[in-house]
Symmetry: C2
Subunit: 173 residues, 2 copies
């Protein structure tokens, strides 16, 4: 148990980027609306459960993003998980913001845009925002959601590209 065989040469943001290249994440879409009822949304790779009782979800966002000012406490938000068949949607929602919402591709639940092609959808409200440097952790209270809408293999982000997962290794014991 020595450290001779390991080196930790990279410092700070370079180390972070090198490591997160190696860390796969599920791809999700977050949608909401602005104060005029216009849809907003984006592709997110930081969505994670924050406990099921009560049901909470967190995601991370840059405070400088165009969506952040609209994600105020109490605002309704939809969270979509994606499968490999949603690749084009994931790319579009990560592209120019005026091209993200195409008539007929989404439905409205009140003022909230939802994509029925997602593998599953949760609807909640912004509960709390924790600001850290130039970023924020946004916590949602989950109110309801769909059952799984389809069971295709999941869409993943890894090494700056999209993949799907096909090879099952083990069930949780």
């Amino acid at each position: 148990m020595t450290t001779e065989s390991l080196n930790f040469p990279a410092i700070g943001s370079d180390a972070l980027k090198a490591t997160f290249r190696m860390h796969a994440s599920g791809v999700a879409i977050i949608t909401s609306h602005d104060q005029d009822g216009q849809p907003i949304g984006f592709t997110a790779t930081s969505v994670t459960s924050l406990g099921s009782n009560p049901p909470l979800v967190s995601f991370n966002i840059a405070r400088g993003s165009s969506s952040y000012p609209h994600l105020v406490v109490g605002r309704d938000v939809a969270l979509h998980t994606l499968s490999a068949t949603n690749l084009e949607l994931a790319q579009r929602m990560a592209g120019p913001k005026e091209e993200r919402f195409i008539e007929g591709d989404y439905q409205l639940v009140g003022q909230l845009p939802v994509f029925p092609s997602a593998s599953s959808i949760l609807i909640g409200k912004v509960r709390e925002r924790f600001e850290v440097e130039a970023n924020a952790v946004v916590v949602l209270d989950i109110l309801h959601g769909t059952e799984a809408l389809q069971e295709d293999s999941p869409l993943l982000y890894y090494k700056r590209g999209y993949l799907t997962a096909t090879e099952r290794l083990a069930d949780n014991s």
Copy 2:
């Protein structure tokens, strides 16, 4: 754009669980040590970047977990990303806590246990903890880390089991 074709029947924690079954996540291992220098650690599927300048990472944890009392502000922490070849390590670090650390399987960096078989390692310190209900978001300042140690396909968690990702769909444009 009507809601007629979509139903949102599931409420609360059931909806959350049904949706997160459909959301794949990368598998990581978090390690640290207690006040006596004894190693602690666990498998985590909630690790995500919180910005690269300055480099920050967040993960979620139940406040009732045995590790949480040790993750005090300022404590040094190692974050390991895993590949498919680390399946046994991921399962072990999610199992009984007295069986998690096997002599010769880890190295010590000061008092911090690190697993050299990981695909990449970051070392940081607990910066802040945001407590929400029975859970917490833990934010780390990243100080340094390895370059990628190996390039095997990533280890994922999905539908209560472990998978790897093999099929690349698209590069980020």
